[in-house]
Symmetry: C2
């Protein structure tokens, strides 16, 4: 997911205007304290765990209007609104979340938490290891999408919500949404899985692994013990650049950059970043290292690569057996990281279980990043799907 320059910058004269959630304050919830550490899929235990999260809108009296949004690889809990009146950019999915928007906070209570393993307020490799008093680094246990989801469940328990209206996510967020409904089938009325897959492909693993190798090859990585000293920015920037290419599309890169030069009239015959696409990637890499922890990148990509609903349940059809929730699966035509054929495989397995499923394949040239970008058809489909669930779930509540 590329947040840096893809989120349209609003003027923010009124904190995004009437359809903004306005100012929001990050919140924190800590659990799994000794001796009740949380058990992970690996068999390891970890605690305490802090989850940084934000909420938007108001939880209704029946606690039935809560929507849990999961972020993607490089995201965070700040999905909508502004932290300060001076913020130039809103949260990463502000486009879809707010009064009158696709996820309409006039009706919905929206929650988003930074994932376990992250570096945006939740416990991750840069957090203090209680056994040593120093940052975990590579002492942090390898986590899975299931572990991330389990940590989110502790948060939802804490918020006193028995059953979510919906779990929603794009990319790795979609993996978490799928994992949530499989682990806790009673605990959501619906699932909205966007630009995602039931299992990470070999090609996806390959790209992630090269990124990890780039980080670990950086001498500043120092086996993960770089906190308080120079960090592996060169390696992390390369990992980000590789990944960023997979978030765009051939057609979109051609349209956005083509072979245009950045600041020259003609070829420079040197090794500076002279093509616009080179300069753009360099910017993306440089911006990313200022806001993201390299070890978190290792752990989160590993969790993505481990994600495989087929292996954990025998088949995708088995994985969804017994589920009562309603689904919408969204793919984008030019997404080659999680292409439509992977979305369709989810849909076939859901339908084989008789689960009500809407499939939307959005025509787009924006590649994987399309899920973060303005698209009327996409926003309207999300709105209609969720409001339909909302009306059904809240019907009969006074």
């Amino acid at each position: 997911m590329s947040i840096d320059d893809e989120v349209p910058i609003t003027t923010n004269s009124k904190l995004g205007g009437d359809n903004s959630v306005g100012l929001v304050t990050p919140q924190y919830f800590t659990f799994a304290e000794a001796p009740n550490e949380m058990a992970l899929d690996s068999g390891a235990r970890i605690g305490p765990i802090t989850m940084a999260y934000e909420t938007y809108g108001t939880l209704n009296a029946a606690r039935s209007n809560a929507v849990l949004v999961f972020h993607a690889l490089s995201g965070d809990a700040h999905v909508a609104g502004y932290h300060t009146p001076e913020d130039r950019k809103p949260g990463w999915w502000d486009l879809l979340i707010g009064p009158g928007k696709a996820l309409d906070t006039d009706y919905l209570f929206v929650i988003c938490a930074n994932v376990l393993g992250g570096c945006k307020g939740s416990t991750g490799p840069s957090s203090e290891n209680p056994r040593t008093g120093k940052p975990y680094g590579m002492q942090f246990p390898v986590i899975t999408i299931g572990d991330m989801v389990q940590a989110q469940r502790f948060l939802i328990d804490h918020l006193g919500i028995d059953r979510l209206l919906s779990v929603i996510g794009g990319s790795m967020g979609g993996m978490q949404a799928l994992e949530w409904v499989i682990r806790y089938p009673e605990r959501t009325a619906s699932v909205l899985a966007i630009a995602t897959t039931g299992r990470q492909s070999a090609q996806g693993i390959a790209f992630d692994e090269v990124g990890r190798q780039a980080i670990m090859a950086d001498p500043n990585w120092a086996g993960g013990n770089y906190y308080g000293q120079a960090s592996p920015t060169a390696g992390l920037a390369i990992a980000r650049m590789i990944a960023h290419i997979t978030y765009l599309s051939d057609a979109q890169m051609q349209a956005k950059f083509g072979r245009r030069l950045q600041s020259r009239e003609s070829l420079g015959y040197d090794f500076t970043a002279e093509f616009q696409v080179e300069s753009y990637l360099k910017y993306q890499g440089d911006a990313f290292v200022r806001r993201f922890d390299a070890n978190s990148y290792l752990y989160i990509t590993k969790a993505i690569d481990y994600f495989d609903l087929e292996a954990s349940k025998g088949s995708l059809i088995e994985a969804f057996s017994g589920i009562q929730s309603e689904f919408m699966v969204v793919s984008f035509t030019s997404d080659w990281l999680y292409p439509p054929y992977q979305g369709k495989a989810l849909v076939r397995a859901l339908q084989a279980n008789g689960i009500p499923t809407t499939y939307l394949e959005v025509p787009s040239t924006y590649g994987h990043d399309a899920f973060l970008l303005p698209n009327e058809r996409y926003a309207a489909a999300i709105h209609d799907f969720i409001m339909n669930i909302y009306q059904r779930v809240t019907k009969g509540e006074n």
Copy 2:
């Protein structure tokens, strides 16, 4: 181009059997000695230039049966046969070159030279800079596909060949074939451009640039002055791994590796290369750094990125104007580095000039690497195209 493991290993009991060219000896030609250095597209001059090359078959009396094969990014002059009876692997395109093969050495005289800028015997950044007596390193001038082709023309002059029967290449080799006929339209009867493009795409530049950044971020790169000391193997391996993903296809990676583990029964919950696809990439990276010079990788990818027939001539149609040669363009359905739409753009521009052009789109799941792999339809099409030209060109010779 991935040579390491893609070339089928023959048993070599008879040096590849009756249809092998057998033992071949590398040859060398040096030219452009002071004060007659070769002028480059950048305006710089370079000399002396040595070209390492090999030939197969026999040049006929009329010198009319010569075929010039251009190699791709990581290739070399050793395109067919064996250097020693102990060699386990033949040259990189042995599949297509030999007696009775697609490029039939019973009729044809096949030439292949290592490109200018390379590290396989021809002059490149690892060669001695005559001004300093030390390896060029980054003092080597930035070169273009046109410069590579010009150096090859000196070799063809040296061999006393006025007009080639064909210029042939895949990937960057195809770029050279196209460039050759545009620069020297009188000097080839035909062009066979395989899995290639008339201009490097933004996405292609992006992948190359990340590879270059990985090399230059390796502290061992040392500004290119690493000769005689530790070389930037970590960075070069990462560059190779990135590129290697672009040579395969999503479908092929799924078929070849899927999510299979290399040597474990279950997930290891650590950061070793546990998936087969990770292990394979690591092998590819490690093997590559033993046979390739990192600076050559920088220079050759830069030449690829600079390649743009449209820019140099105004349009692709203009680029091919006045050309009399006959063309065959081959694309592979699953090649996403140089996809069929790029091959078709060449064909449209050629046909707009009334140039006799055959287009073959080969169904294949092997991605870009398909051009190096066995495929009957592909081999037969090459054979028929070339033998047709051969018969026409040599008709009337006694």
